[in-house]
Symmetry: C2
Subunit: 234 residues, 2 copies
DNA sequence: GCGTGTAATATGTATGCACATATTGCGTCA
DNA sequence: TGACGCAATATGTGCATACATATTACACGC
């Protein structure tokens, strides 16, 4: 059989795992590897490119390809839509709109969205139920400058997240994760005791550099957990 | 100038952003796009492949290339080494080994590591300081079946994480994130009040399917936060 | 009508070749 | 001796072509 770029990739990876190549070492050049494996240089190139994309090696012209030392392991964090997350557990999903108003956002939110002082935004507060338990409390501000259509939507039936994904399919997202103690009001809405640990996600999204929305998503800490993995195959 | 795969990529992406292609739509075939852009099919192929890797489109043979609806937005979560994380803030990093012993792990840990009943593992408890504040409490079990060399290392100076990265450069990692209330003992070691929210990371790593270690990393919730972003450029 | 084999089709991969581009190092010339 | 420039080299990208493979649709036979 012909030599696949996967064969080359696996071979190099094997040398690193086996210790034949240690972090800092220079991998043989594409030409040399092509000769060794009996394949075209392009095939080796693809193998090395994928390894570079995976962060295993580092490539620079004229310098060659070197084995990276894995300083910080990155992992892929999947934050599913609330609905999907809940329905995956088998529980019934219910969405509830607590309040909806157009108002000038507090300074902290204004800064997070990069809005001009005095400008108004859409403020939504919602609750997401998993059966009889509250799964998530959502406090969201949407920039009307970026998404004017949001002023017309009433969000009584559809949650703002699902609405936004439909309205603006491609966006950049940032998630900040932290732990906190539930305040009085929060605890009451979540159905937990004040002081209980909550898992907080602060999500901000942009499209082409324009801020779309900032959402503070609060979950009961006892039940919620997020899982991130490194890409399995390599 | 010749047509770059980046041009094709940008063009398709533009159509999606502009609404010319909406989620569910089928992108024209590689042959058709190649004719349209005046380039080789391989060039179109590479553009589409990268878009598929980025999760923007979904490709299946014979079926064609379709625009994905972004159900779950993935983000890249970077969990830095404790040392790097602390030194980045300018605070002084200090590592402290609290205890070290070889013992049979509790059932929960044994299950997490996939160890046989009765087998022993290395148990380490450490504290990571950022200046005068405790940044992280580490409770770690290392499988001696997978990493026998760990039995010799004393971990008095070097933290187990740094040691393991050196010993096993390429591994698979899983992180589970959650919030909890600090227990009595934990709170005392962290220098916070019992009941205060803590941010917990449970990290498990494998190499070639063999479990290496399980670490429970506890941080004071008030100060700790993790940030994940989607890849910026696309 | 129904299952099945087969052709058509879209994507996936490999090759040889050519040229582009970045970087290093050495040699040339003032 | 030092500044500059050019050649050597390794990776990066594009094209034409060929063949591989998965999946769908359709024709065929029962």
């Amino acid at each position: 059989m012909r030599v696949s770029y996967l064969d080359v990739k696996a071979a190099i990876l094997g040398r690193i795992r086996g210790g034949a190549l240690v972090p800092g070492d220079t991998v043989p050049g594409e030409e040399a590897l092509a000769a060794e494996f009996g394949c075209a240089r392009v095939t080796v190139h693809r193998a090395l490119r994928e390894l570079a994309e995976a962060g295993v090696v580092e490539r620079r012209r004229r310098r060659g390809t070197r084995v990276r030392l894995p300083v910080a392991r990155d992992a892929e964090l999947v934050i599913p839509s609330v609905r999907a997350e809940i329905e995956a557990t088998g529980a019934a999903y219910r969405y509830e709109l607590l309040s909806r108003r157009i108002a000038p956002p507090p300074r902290r939110v204004r800064a997070a969205l990069g809005l001009a002082p005095g400008s108004k935004a859409l403020h939504l507060r919602c609750r997401h139920w998993a059966g009889a338990r509250v799964h998530q409390l959502e406090d969201r501000w949407i920039s009307l400058a970026t998404v004017p259509a949001a002023a017309q939507a009433d969000f009584a039936q559809t949650g703002p997240n699902e609405w936004l994904i439909r309205a603006m399919p491609l966006s950049q997202v940032e998630h900040a994760l932290s732990a906190a103690n539930a305040g009085e009001a929060e605890a009451a809405l979540l159905g937990i005791a004040p002081g209980d640990a909550v898992f907080v996600i602060e999500r901000r999204t942009w499209i082409e550099g324009e801020a779309i929305t900032r959402a503070r998503l609060v979950h009961p800490g006892a039940t919620h957990r997020l899982v991130a993995r490194t890409a399995p195959p390599l």
